[in-house]
Symmetry: C2
Subunit: 409 residues, 2 copies
Amino acid sequence: MALIVQKYGGTSVANPERIRNLARRVARFKAMGHQIVVVVSAMSGETNRLIALAKEIMPEPDPRELDVMVSTGEQVTIGMTALALMELGIKAKSYTGAQVKILTDDAFTKARILNIDEHNLKADLDAGYVCVVAGFQGMDANGNITTLGRGGSDTTGVALAAALNADECQIYTDVDGVYTTDPRVVPEARRLDKITFEEMLELASQGSKVLQIRSVEFAGKYKVKLRVLSSFEDEGDGTLITFEDEGNNMEDPIISGIAFNRDEAKITVLGVPDTPGIAYQILGPIAEANVDVDMIIQNTGADGTTDFTFTVHKNEMNKALSILRDKVQSNIKAREIVGDDKVVKVAIVGVGMKSHVGVASQMFRTLAEEGINIQMISTSEIKIAVVIDEKYMELAVRVLHKAFELEAA
Amino acid sequence: MALIVQKYGGTSVANPERIRNLARRVARFKAMGHQIVVVVSAMSGETNRLIALAKEIMPEPDPRELDVMVSTGEQVTIGMTALALMELGIKAKSYTGAQVKILTDDAFTKARILNIDEHNLKADLDAGYVCVVAGFQGMDANGNITTLGRGGSDTTGVALAAALNADECQIYTDVDGVYTTDPRVVPEARRLDKITFEEMLELASQGSKVLQIRSVEFAGKYKVKLRVLSSFEDEGDGTLITFEDEGNNMEDPIISGIAFNRDEAKITVLGVPDTPGIAYQILGPIAEANVDVDMIIQNTGADGTTDFTFTVHKNEMNKALSILRDKVQSNIKAREIVGDDKVVKVAIVGVGMKSHVGVASQMFRTLAEEGINIQMISTSEIKIAVVIDEKYMELAVRVLHKAFELEAA
């Protein structure tokens, strides 16, 4: 008998029929003797509907009240899911975030979990109930309703698994696991049976949409065994995210997958003095304006000046450019500030590259052979990311997938 | 400066535009220096949508889970209402029933309020906030979400007014007050400036849909000054429900209004022994089956047997008939059991009739002059109700309205 947390996203609870499917899967696990906690998102489209309703009243809605409204999405789903389980003769009970007590800070719309009181859930599990918990929400110390921000239901699942010391946290989604890359770009892309936590983290942060990065971080921190599965197929073991780097075996593939991100734009500050503090002078005002920065590159300058390049979300490029031109350019005596949103980031990820030399050079040669110019390079121990012209994206992913023999089983 | 509780029903919050209207009205009261608590229902149609969603999963939904789902309707409205107030520059804060703490029993879908913790609301009111509270909901001692049943938002408003010792509880609805009768039946029907609590209670229980009877009972018990107003008109003082019987003045009208109810059916048990305990033998099984009974009539019998008649909701007539025929008829040796759902109840109500003789005879004469046969009669100190053939309903209401000179100002 195991304790399993199963998290179902918006498409898995999109309508009553899918919720009945979900209930039938839970029933099968229950019949095997497992204790089950189900975490559900809002029905797909519901969160956006509620946000639109709020914005119709107040274009920039007060975050506390927005959370009051948006959290109802999951509250409806927990009721429906509990009913679907009861309809199959299974004892079930729903919990809002506040009812569990999922205690968060008071950063409305992007709250972080501080503590989970597992006592009520444990008692109900021991009494034979399936506990159905609303994802994405909690309450702060003053009893205000909070939400964890987009994708927060994954985090709820992982956090509950950690608090309950669950044997496994299963994330059900509309894909059947983690792939070497997006199968829509490379039809030969292969599902991975397992992947390390670090690789998953890099893949997630590099734009793979399977799991939210916060939930992966959380799983790593609390050593929660995560598994990604399809909610639309009853067969298959999905992809297990493991903690041990088992990649010492020479037969393991060098890289595990290729991620890409079409949402980034590149901003270059040309001809800035190559002096201490310049990076802070450039990025400080950007951070103050709550613009997230991803890659950051600065080369050593030759003539006492240097070029400073970083990437932001495409939607925020113009905001970032205005800030730099209005508040920064004259202070730091930059020659020019240019933006380019016709770029993509492509990254290869794998713990195998730790023990294999020449991975970077193989990547660069592969791209060079296709005449693809590399605009930025950023590396970590298990990842090499490049920024290239967006028109080459599909080509780059395909040739890299082939070069690193990812299609082979 | 007064403390006013304002309750807005589903049609008053049906869409963002109406919620903005509501906020503008609250703003005017706030500008006069009053402290305001706003109680809102779900947007009209929303409660039915949620119930339908639950029934799609489980035809007879578990009541605890149904309440979890249905309570989201008001939760969305409190968020929208608070946002609409903020958009006008007014400090506002929303409260779910659980956040207030509106403590109820655990009778899901028809819970009763046990206690209200007014401390948080008081503190926020004193800090200048408009408090926006979800009607119709609370929580039980174990933290489960409960709902008060249909129309419960009125009860929430009155209960909050009582707990906060408010100066007035204003019920905003789609009519501008309490009328002498339904203006759709009698165009000359007149709005009453005031009406006593007892009269309102009789009118409400006799089928006038303006206020829920439970909220009127509650207002009477806790001496809450109630006022019914239109949410669609900015002028007018509506109808005040007073506690004192100020009807000693001879110029006051004898009766205040005429109520009617098309939803009742009549059941007659013919030829039962005129012995002690017969009423219990008939109505006991009916009550056990949770069928509500309204009027009950039993005449003295002449030949040792009597006829026993009572009314139930039309929807429950067949259920009641089955119970009587299956479980009761042979026990009590009744000759026959007949049902009739082609009846209506019409009642005249007024504290004035206490001090005026002949009201009943005037009512009966008026009906007789139109050839309307009276099937049942039931009276209280301030009410005379009759059951008649449904085809005469409009005629009966019109002639009684005229006979008692209700159209005169």
